[in-house]
Subunit: 408 residues, 2 copies
């Protein structure tokens, strides 16, 4: 394969025009959209209107006039189209961690006789931490098990199985329908973390009969740093699921000032405090970039980019100590590719210094994200060439690449 | 008194230049800064830099380079100066409702033998709702009592007393030091909601030996619609207090990817998910407007504005069915003034139509906020004149003012 082959793939790419929807710095190959997606060009005029007109001029009346109060449901309804859910099943709120807490607690409320929560060791750590905190307060038991032992641990005492659909490090994908069915067979509920799924890989929550899900707004959805997160509650559980985070926006009548809590009968029951309008506005721009294409086209191009990267690295960077993490088959992975390397941290810093932005995850994982809306196959080729040069020249051994930053 | 007297007060006002820090619509007297503060002029250039340079060009590197990761503590440290706390005792995070949940749960962890939480009937409803949700999950008891019965209900079984310092409707202020001491006498902890306090009235958390506090970013702090909230944990409780919302940002080493949760030893333990950078950036602009003056000057001018409004309404609008809600003595109230009126909703709508923006709170409360940084005494005079005209002409009886909006 030569670079011209990659260029040919780009010429035939049905998503090639999507790149114009984003602002990207010059001279950079951005392989970290799985951590922080770049800014959609629509964010700036949207924020200008929000700040100068809606907040600046219309002030408090914008809660009604500009639709601020419905924003969590409106944007949730758009995200629903990317994850195989109904518009009435998804809402934007809080952070992924807070949403996970709400829904895991809700699962305990739906399965009152059962007190066990099962998750995977090596799941993204905040998911495990939040389940730990909930289990302690609610008097539940948390079992954190190796991937291969998760399904076998689901028993008649299990209220909830909580897994991340696309693994943050290995990118390995769980079979959503099969795992959900296995949980249901034992009477347990299933909660999926879609942080690396939404806007990236195929996802059919309704088709899998998934009960609950949460996900992140700032990765493949391009919602900006610390964007609000989303959550999904299957229609059949709405009205029955109880959240301990029973704030006023989840009340059946938030502005009636009733003395006691009475939850909304629908997905709004999962709202808590006042919705973060600036964050939701930016997130809506990001979600809208996805609605101009199909999730199928995104997933297909993503597989093509990942497959090209893996093949090129294995071919052109052989012998330099890189080991692919996760499955070789791109149909079984999400849109980031990790290679383990003994000097991984420094290697990633050396690549960043040359304009190839990936990230590092302890202990030795160099992670590269392949986001179909704004990356092309030729960039993948160029990134691998730069990787090869850095490895061959051992540039990553320079001392300046070893200083650890606060955020890695 | 005539308008010229109000104008004279404005000429002598040490805060008269602060108005230039804000963008306000022309032809409007904005008496709703206690609900949504207007936009500081610095927000627009700040957001431009955040969007175009930090997010747009520097992308993921801004977590370190632009200080995003420290933003919750940096802005929390600034808010600390407005509420009598140390910089290391305050952090910006989540919503007021979520923060209340965290700290109330934390109080239960600090008082393991005690299971009772006491609060006030008529407290802002989301506070009561959140305590209800926590009590149910944690197996605690919530007592919601009339204001006069709260102190007497604190017993040896009480883990936490939770009150709002300035009442959202009546504006009545609790004596923070005395009430905190009463709670401590019985071994209970004290949690204050400062939503109508921060940036408005005097507050000395350390002086009162308050244990815990939460507060809102979008009212007197001018952080924008749905701005992130803040919370305070007295230094003596840090390290000991446990939060069930144990997300990765509260971990001692968020980027070490440790398998189990180990809380940060300081205020960071109260962080949960990824910080909402857009919201925090706008909030920082709002907080900065307060740091250019003193909290004492703000509180003094606020009392002067409220006193003028009450006197003028009682004088010039007598006989039109308005009844002052809350104490007459402005030293015992926060910076909003409520009058009950049988046709309150329509009255507020009629005032809005004439450019005097207040808000309505069920069942009959017309609420007007007096924010010292951008309001003057002459505006108070003008607002009362318009109120008098609307009452005298009975303009509020027109049918178009009776249609209830989603948000009131």
């Amino acid at each position: 394969m030569i670079r011209a082959d990659a260029e040919a793939l780009d010429r035939d790419d049905p998503l090639r025009r999507s790149r114009e929807l984003f602002e990207l710095p010059k001279g950079v190959i951005y392989l970290d959209g799985n951590s922080l997606g770049p800014i959609p060009r629509s964010v700036y005029p949207t924020m200008e209107d929000l700040l100068l007109r809606q907040w600046g001029q219309d002030l408090i009346t914008s809660w009604n006039k500009a639709g601020w109060i419905e924003a969590p449901q409106r944007v949730g309804g758009k995200i629903a189209r990317l994850i195989g859910a109904r518009a009435t099943e998804v809402v934007v709120a809080d952070s992924t961690s807070v949403n996970l807490y709400k829904l895991a607690a809700g699962a305990l409320s739906l399965r009152p006789g059962r007190r066990k929560i099962v998750t995977e060791a090596g799941n993204f750590h905040t998911d495990v931490y939040v389940l730990e905190g909930l289990a302690r307060l609610a008097g539940a038991t948390l079992e954190v098990l190796p991937r291969a032992e998760v399904l076998g641990a689901i028993g008649d005492d299990t209220a909830l199985v909580m897994l991340t659909h696309v693994h943050y490090a290995t990118a390995e994908v769980w079979d959503m329908a099969a795992v959900t069915a296995a949980a249901h067979d034992r009477g347990a509920l299933m909660l999926w973390d879609l942080s690396h799924t939404a806007g990236a890989v195929g996802c059919d929550l309704n088709g899998a009969r998934a009960d609950l899900a949460v996900g992140c707004g700032y990765k493949h959805l391009n919602g900006g740093p610390g964007a609000p997160a989303f959550l999904y509650v299957a229609e059949r559980h709405q009205g029955a699921i109880a959240t301990p985070l029973s704030g006023w926006m989840g009340h059946a009548a938030p502005f009636a000032f009733e003395p006691r809590y009475s939850p909304a009968p629908d997905i709004r029951a999962q709202l808590c405090g006042t919705p973060p309008i600036l964050g939701i506005a930016a997130l809506e721009c990001g979600v809208d970039t996805h609605l101009s294409v199909t999730p199928q086209a995104v997933a297909a191009k993503g597989r093509s980019l990942c497959d090209l990267f893996i093949r090129l690295v294995e071919d052109r960077c052989a012998g330099y100590g890189l080991t692919l993490v996760g499955p070789r088959d791109v149909a079984r992975r999400g849109l980031h590719v990790s290679f383990a390397h003994a000097d991984g941290y420094a290697l990633v810093q050396a690549l960043i210094a040359r304009g190839v932005i990936g990230d590092f995850r302890d202990p030795d994982i160099c992670r590269f994200g392949f986001t179909p809306l704004y990356l092309g196959h030729a960039e993948v080729w160029d990134a691998v060439e730069i990787l090869r040069e850095v490895l061959a020249s051992r540039a990553f051994e320079r001392p300046e690449f070893r200083t650890r930053a606060a955020v890695t």
